[in-house]
């Protein structure tokens, strides 16, 4: 700031602000206000109906010193997002590689892979509760084939998070869609050149495909993280955080405080702690991105 911009740079900056104007306007009008209010509420005892009273950092102090469930919710959220997001991304990359070939019936396969991501949560949850049944469920019967005695999944405090992670893998289609779109955009010449250099398919995948789709991997990682740390619906419908909060996560927990306990102020403080965590992690990922994300245009500049 404070530096003078040259004429052409000023013109470019003006164009930038004109381009982002729609978002900027929407942000100032529709988003900033509600966000600011929620921040303010986090310093009050607002019960949603009556005038809020300012209580300083009381909510935050209670959250970190006296709340029995919050540390659990925090840990569960990290555990869930920390495993399901990378795992899903890894699988999606492999599957996209498989789908990124000239095979018959690709459109059918792609549709099938995307299908689970389209099923409404209530229906999907019902199906998965059934599939995760302790002895008779499909998943444990499958494990039984290999002599593995599967846990009681949703009823077992040690297995309920893995159960939710397993379920999340059915949503892999969302990641595939974009990764595949990125792979289809890689110029064929690159592969041809690699083949001439004697590279095999695996090498080409590792040294051409992966770097070329790294911007999309980066996108999926950031979005997966933002979404994963805000996991709500599956928990809300399938376990309601149980058994004994073994699957309680941050957003279901703040939802419980907001709409079951009428502690909107307290719920807002949970939301802002979560906000800071996600923001911090996103900044970290962005910082690291220059190490592994490959932008064609920026390299050439």
């Amino acid at each position: 700031m404070g530096r003078r911009l040259s004429g052409s740079r000023r013109k470019e900056a003006l164009a930038f602000y004109l381009c982002i104007a729609p978002w900027l306007f929407g942000f100032l009008v529709f988003t900033l206000g509600p966000m600011a209010f929620s921040l303010y509420f986090s310093f009050t005892d607002w019960n949603m109906f009556q005038k809020p009273n300012f209580v300083g950092f009381k909510n935050y102090v209670r959250l970190f010193t006296r709340d029995r469930i919050f540390p659990k919710a925090l840990w569960n959220t990290f555990f869930y997002a920390g495993i399901s997001v990378p795992l899903s991304l890894f699988l999606a990359t492999l599957l996209s590689g498989l789908l990124n070939r000239k095979l018959r019936g690709l459109r059918i396969f792609r549709t099938i892979f995307y299908l689970p991501a389209l099923i409404p949560a209530a229906a999907m949850s019902m199906v998965f509760i059934w599939m995760l049944a302790p002895d008779t469920g499909l998943i444990n019967r499958f494990l039984g084939v290999f002599g593995v005695d599967g846990p009681a999944w949703l009823l077992d405090r040690n297995a309920v998070k893995p159960a939710l992670i397993i379920m999340s893998l059915w949503g892999v289609g969302n990641n595939i869609l974009l990764l595949l779109a990125g792979m289809q955009g890689i110029p064929q010449q690159l592969y041809e050149a690699a083949r001439l250099d004697g590279a095999g398919r695996r090498q080409a995948f590792l040294h051409i495909t992966i770097p070329m789709i790294s911007p999309i991997l980066f996108f999926n990682l950031v979005m997966g993280m933002i979404g994963g740390l805000q996991t709500f619906t599956q928990v809300y419908i399938m376990t309601d955080g149980g058994p004994n909060n073994a699957s309680m996560m941050m957003v279901p927990y703040l939802f419980h405080h907001a709409f079951d306990s009428y502690r909107m102020g307290y719920a807002s403080s949970i939301a802002w702690v979560l906000f800071l965590i996600i923001l911090g992690m996103t900044l970290l990922v962005f910082r690291s991105s220059s190490l592994w994300v490959f932008y064609e245009s920026e390299v050439r500049r």
């Binding site: 470019e12 381009c19 099938i112 289809q184 719920a267 064609e296």
Partner: protein
């Protein structure tokens, strides 16, 4: 083991893998169909099987013949259509700015853009409702449509990632041809990004089509209800009764199938056009 035999083996391994994975991924949907076709007695007892044993297609008719379905469908299409329109135009423009144009404060604005996704919607629901009620928009489609015209961070970020991949040689050429910033957006970016715009269209369709909480909060009249809201009426219970599972699955499929069709048709525009290769621009 090279040449033809190797290729054949390679292909059959790929097919085998794809088939197994498809079978696993499609399982929930097959179970849904099985439940949707179950009789009321089976539904009450919840003695469902993975593969359909009963074929009560009348369950579908019962739901599909509901006279209100037309209104719900119309409302959903209206909201979804405007949402797609708004997202495609606003997100692409904003993304172009973030991807290509240099300006002081750009990175900060981009972080702010992303950070609006980091606060759970459950917490901003009420302030937002207050805002829209002050505007007099409650019980109209406006709270569900208008915000789409200001871009969504997800779409903006996604577009930005693709735009940054476009080789800078293209821009240089365009500049030499005398195109301004908005000329580049219109002549180069929009045509090049068509597959991603279609992807964004599909995402926007899906998220608005299945959206439940926002229509529930903002719409009051029965004739303003959307499909996802309307079909809930058919499956809600009061007291502690279990939902009629066969109807739940029929309505779930009613919601899923249009999204599936949109994807099935839309995918060829995403996957079958080779867009960011150097040659695409020359065409």
């Amino acid at each position: 083991m090279t040449g033809r035999a190797g290729k054949l083996l390679d292909k059959s391994v790929s097919y085998g893998l794809l088939l197994v994975l498809s079978a696993v991924l499609v399982l929930p949907f097959i179970f849904m169909i099985s439940i949707a076709l179950a009789s009321d007695a089976t539904s009450t007892k919840m003695t469902f099987s993975l593969l359909p044993k009963e074929w009560n297609f009348s369950n579908f008719l019962r739901v599909y013949r509901d006279p209100r379905l037309g209104i719900w469908l119309k409302n959903s299409l209206l909201i979804t259509g405007f949402a797609i329109l708004g997202q495609v135009f606003s997100s692409s423009l904003v993304a172009y700015g973030f991807a290509r144009l240099r300006a002081p404060g750009k990175n900060v604005w981009f972080m702010i853009l992303l950070s609006t996704m980091m606060i759970p919607t459950q917490i901003t629901l009420i302030p937002q409702f207050v805002l829209f009620s002050k505007l007099g928009w409650v019980n109209t489609f406006l709270p569900l449509i208008v915000p789409n015209f200001f871009g969504h961070p997800f779409n903006v970020f996604l577009m930005r990632q693709f735009i940054t991949q476009v080789p800078s040689s293209l821009y240089d050429a365009a500049r030499i041809d005398g195109l301004g910033y908005f000329g580049i957006y219109r002549r180069i970016i929009l045509p090049l990004m068509k597959p991603i715009l279609i992807a964004i269209g599909i995402f926007t369709f899906n998220s608005n089509w299945a959206m439940f909480l926002e229509p529930l909060i903002y719409l009051n009249d029965p004739e303003k209800m959307t499909l996802s809201l309307g079909v809930r009426i058919l499956t809600e219970t009061s007291g502690g009764a279990a939902p009629p599972w066969n109807t739940v699955m029929v309505t779930s499929m009613l919601l899923t199938v249009p999204m599936l069709v949109v994807f099935f048709i839309g995918q060829r525009y995403i996957f079958e056009i080779n867009f960011s290769s150097g040659s695409a621009s020359i065409k």
